[in-house]
């Protein structure tokens, strides 16, 4: 590959990109910077505009407003095959009438490379992706995971600057998904190729990305590292999109510099985050695994409640606890393995992580 700019410098930039389809806005005012060699994920529910954004980066549509730059060069009007990007489609789009070898070789042959060179490159790529021996097979003879890797090989073998992946794991079963996403990340690290990845699966996004961009209804809500988004979401919306969440009403009890104390249902506890200026009533985020659950007898600290439902999930047991003081049901994940049947009186204490004061209501 040609000389690459240093990792971390800007590679792809979207500047206020907007796209509307027949009256309904699909992508609204999206600004995003993707660094060289980084793995960036666009995360959001169906219809949030992430696939449309990816397709604009790929060049299938141009934005109605705004610009897309790759290494500083504006890409408006540049068709997909002239952009230094390569896309792996959600349904792989493997050519059903060609063998695995011919599929992967397609892009190279279009570029009129010598047959010997084609053979060498394709062979190397198939080995890299653990597809050796399948070169003569047809797509319909392969498993879902194998098809996915062939699609990846086909895109990578032409040595693009940027790899785009549109929900590549959605057609695989759950166990396979976890394994394959690890392999994709491993491969990306090895090749050091800038990757933009689209998914609706938050576990996937948090697990393998350097940077996650959360989208909703066409807008970019927040960009940050997985930890940033999970522990310090910029809004309730982002908090909910990135993980399970309880949002509890509370008041600021005391604030001394960076030390913050909030009161929830009469119970005071230290908290993190910055409350909006001049407000005492705040919304506090407590994720299910930040609670500690104890059987109520004898405990006077924490919120009192009653187990309404439970679901054993192996590593944790999820409890739905009704807290009368808040008049709402709180979701709690308990890893102690102690079984508490419906109706048990319990007390909840925040110990895993301090509750987080969410900056605004949306």
């Amino acid at each position: 590959m040609a000389q690459r700019p240093p990792a971390g410098s800007e590679h792809v930039r979207l500047d206020r990109v907007t796209k509307t389809f027949g009256g309904s806005p699909a992508v609204v005012d999206v600004t995003l910077v993707v660094a060289e060699g980084a793995f960036t994920t666009l995360l959001g529910p169906s219809g949030c505009g992430k696939t449309t954004t990816l397709r604009m980066i790929a060049g299938f549509y141009d934005p109605d407003r705004g610009e897309i730059y790759v290494r500083g060069r504006p890409q408006r009007g540049v068709p997909p095959h002239r952009r230094p990007v390569s896309i792996v489609f959600q349904d792989y789009a493997l050519f059903p009438h060609m063998t695995v070898f011919d599929n992967v070789a397609y892009g190279l042959r279009v570029r009129r490379l010598a047959p010997a060179v084609v053979r060498q490159k394709v062979g190397a790529m198939l080995d890299l992706l653990d597809l050796g021996g399948l070169a003569g097979r047809y797509p319909h003879e392969l498993s879902g995971g194998q098809q996915q890797r062939v699609a990846l090989a086909r895109s990578l073998v032409i040595e693009p600057e940027v790899l785009l992946m549109d929900e590549p794991l959605s057609n695989l079963d759950a166990a396979l998904r976890v394994r394959v996403r690890g392999e994709i990340r491993e491969l990306q690290r090895r090749l050091g190729i800038t990757t933009i990845y689209v998914t609706h699966d938050r576990e996937e996004a948090l697990g393998i990305s350097d940077q996650v961009a959360v989208m909703y209804e066409g807008r970019l809500l927040q960009v940050g590292t997985p930890e940033d988004l999970y522990f310090r979401p910029g809004s309730q919306h982002v908090a909910g999109l990135v993980g399970d969440a309880n949002f509890l009403p509370g008041e600021v009890a005391a604030q001394r510099g960076s030390q913050l104390v909030v009161r929830i249902a009469g119970v005071e506890m230290p908290a993190a985050g910055v409350p909006p200026a001049g407000r005492t009533a705040v919304t506090v985020l407590v994720r299910p695994d930040w609670w500690t659950l104890v059987t109520a007898a004898g405990h006077d600290a924490g919120l009192r409640g009653e187990v309404r439902a439970r679901e054993f999930r192996g590593q944790v047991t999820r409890y739905w606890v009704y807290v009368p003081a808040l008049d709402r049901t709180v979701v709690v994940d308990d890893a102690t393995g102690v079984s508490r049947p419906e109706g048990t009186a319990v007390a909840l204490v925040v110990r895993g992580r301090p509750p987080y004061v969410v900056p605004d209501t949306l």
């Binding site: 696939t51 397709r55 790929a58 060049g59 299938f60 068709p79 997909p80 095959h81 390569s86 896309i87 489609f89 959600q90 349904d91 792989y92 789009a93 493997l94 050519f95 059903p96 009438h97 397609y106 892009g107 279009v110 570029r111 047809y138 797509p139 319909h140 086909r154 032409i158 549109d166 929900e167 959605s170 057609n171």
Partner: protein
């Protein structure tokens, strides 16, 4: 898992009746016609240069018409479905017109335009030319049968995901490269199927060669001449069988190809639009589709014009006399409607019952039943006509000369299509629905009546309309079976044309066209577009 028919008398009765019908009206006539010719006839057909010429003519038409009709069908399919040429909607509609109108309308309008008193040759150019011969037949057949190729290719093209084209494009291939390496290879099964179907139609075509072939004879017209001119049924039988053999071969190949799975990738999420071909390609396709559409419109316009003209070629003042004559003074049109209507109901019912029996009940000899039901699709109308004359002109089944034999020939001719439609519809109904009904105590007949029939009602209606429209327009078999009092519209058009009564011929043809369109229109209204007929 099929529901066992043990102890279900109604099912066995239906099975017996259906099998008996097929045996008497499909198998027996074909066996009879195969046994009719003697060695003398076979020797004659293989050595006599006259027959060789006829065979050569038939082969020529098959090669020429199939090539041009398939190419035109492809241009339409690609232009309308992929290249999105301007006017695609209009083209799409017009391309289906030849399927519902008599196939020999082309021949008739050709005479009106280019004949002795033709609009173009006589009135515009002042020439009196003899246009009878194979070029006219070629043109008429191409225009009549390209929709068959269009539908077959269109079905396959639709299943080629546009994302595949986009993927190829994104990997760097130009539009022509994408077309050559991705679209064409994947469309090839459709092109092959289309060509085979067109060839079968060309082989069986009687009306066009009869009207404008002149001295250029093909097997279908020659067989007819043998019967009408020489009363030589043996020779006609031989010619019919010679016509049957290649048709059967093509039919079997086409069936074999149908079984090859079309591998498609279906993904979630919105698909990308396909790759648009270059501007000049779209312009070219638009031109081809446009010119063809204009020719089609001209074809029908001329017929209607001829129907309203007093005397074509001499007196073009408008009149309703021709329509009054064909619709009121003669019985042929009414006969066509009655025969076709009866045949439609009969064929639809029989097809549905057969489909149910074969595919839902583990009955003995199911595969034989299936094959015999589909066999008529491989039998050219000419052979069917000759076979029926030979088989049913003496007791115990002396049906010749009556209306019943015409109705039966229509039923048998179009049974395969109704059957296929019903089978496809049945496949979409989950077996478990029937099994629950049986579990709750319903007998075979009740399950059929309460559960299956309502669910395939749409397919039943589609088969009904389709058989009606095809029966009203069919000629090549019924031309052998009509007689005094049981004439049909299509045969009478031929008679009018032979005697030079152009106005009446055109009026009858126009009436058939309007009838077919009305039937389709009513169907669309009643079923409100829930069922697609011809991909409309």
């Amino acid at each position: 898992m099929t529901v066992r028919p043990r102890g279900d008398p109604a099912v066995w009765a239906a099975y017996g009746l259906a099998a008996a019908f097929l045996a008497v009206f499909v198998v027996y006539p074909l066996v009879r016609v195969a046994a009719t010719p003697g060695w003398a006839q076979w020797y004659d057909v293989l050595t006599n240069p006259r027959w060789r010429a006829v065979l050569g003519n038939t082969a020529l038409m098959v090669v020429l018409s199939t090539t041009t009709a398939t190419a035109l069908g492809f241009a339409f399919a690609y232009g309308v479905l992929r290249a999105q040429v301007p006017g695609a909607r209009v083209f799409r509609l017009l391309a289906l017109a030849p399927l519902v109108t008599p196939p020999f309308v082309g021949g008739l309008s050709f005479i009106f335009l280019f004949g002795r008193q033709g609009l173009v040759t006589y009135r515009l150019l002042g020439q009196e030319v003899n246009i009878y011969g194979w070029p006219g037949v070629w043109l008429a057949q191409t225009m009549a049968f390209f929709p068959v190729a269009y539908l077959a290719i269109g079905t396959v093209l639709r299943r080629v995901s546009p994302t595949l084209e986009q993927a190829a494009r994104a990997l760097g291939a130009g539009p022509w490269h994408v077309f050559r390496t991705v679209v064409v290879p994947l469309a090839l099964p459709g092109i092959g199927a289309g060509a085979l179907l067109v060839a079968i139609h060309v082989l069986a075509d009687f009306g066009n060669p009869a009207l404008i072939g002149g001295r250029f004879r093909v097997l279908a017209t020659e067989a007819y001449a043998q019967v009408v001119g020489w009363a030589d049924y043996r020779m006609a039988a031989v010619l019919g069988i010679v016509l049957f053999l290649p048709t059967l071969a093509l039919f079997l190949v086409q069936r074999r190809l149908e079984r090859v799975p079309v591998v498609t990738v279906v993904g979630r999420g919105a698909t990308l639009p396909g790759v648009r071909p270059a501007g000049w390609v779209r312009a070219g396709l638009c031109a081809i589709c446009g010119v063809t559409s204009l020719l089609l419109v001209a074809k029908y316009a001329v017929i209607f014009l001829g129907a309203f003209s007093r005397v074509w070629g001499y007196d073009h003042s408008l009149t309703l006399r021709n329509f009054a004559y064909v619709l009121l003074a003669t019985r042929e049109f009414g006969n066509s409607v009655r025969f076709a209507g009866t045949a439609a109901v009969g064929a639809a019912v029989l097809a549905t019952v057969l489909a149910y029996l074969v595919h839902r009940r583990a009955l003995p000899l199911a595969r034989v039943l299936d094959a015999v039901t589909l066999l008529p699709a491989a039998v050219p109308g000419t052979l069917l006509g000759v076979a029926y004359v030979l088989a049913f002109n003496a007791p115990p089944l002396a049906l010749a000369g009556g209306g019943a034999i015409i109705v039966l020939s229509m039923v048998v001719r179009f049974l395969p299509v109704g059957y296929r439609t019903a089978v496809a519809a049945l496949r979409q109904i989950d077996r478990s629905i029937e099994e629950s009904a049986a579990d709750l105590g319903a007998t075979g007949l009740r399950v059929f009546w309460d559960i299956v029939l309502p669910l395939i009602r749409a397919a039943f209606s589609a088969a009904l309309v389709y058989v009606f429209v095809r029966s009203v327009n069919t000629l090549s078999a019924v031309v052998f079976l009509v007689s005094h009092g049981t004439g049909v519209a299509s045969a009478s058009i031929l008679n009018f044309a032979e005697q030079g009564y152009w106005g009446q011929a055109a009026a009858m043809a126009s009436s058939l066209i309007v009838l077919a369109l009305a039937a389709l229109g009513a169907f669309r209204l009643v079923l409100g577009g829930r069922v697609r007929l011809f991909e409309l």
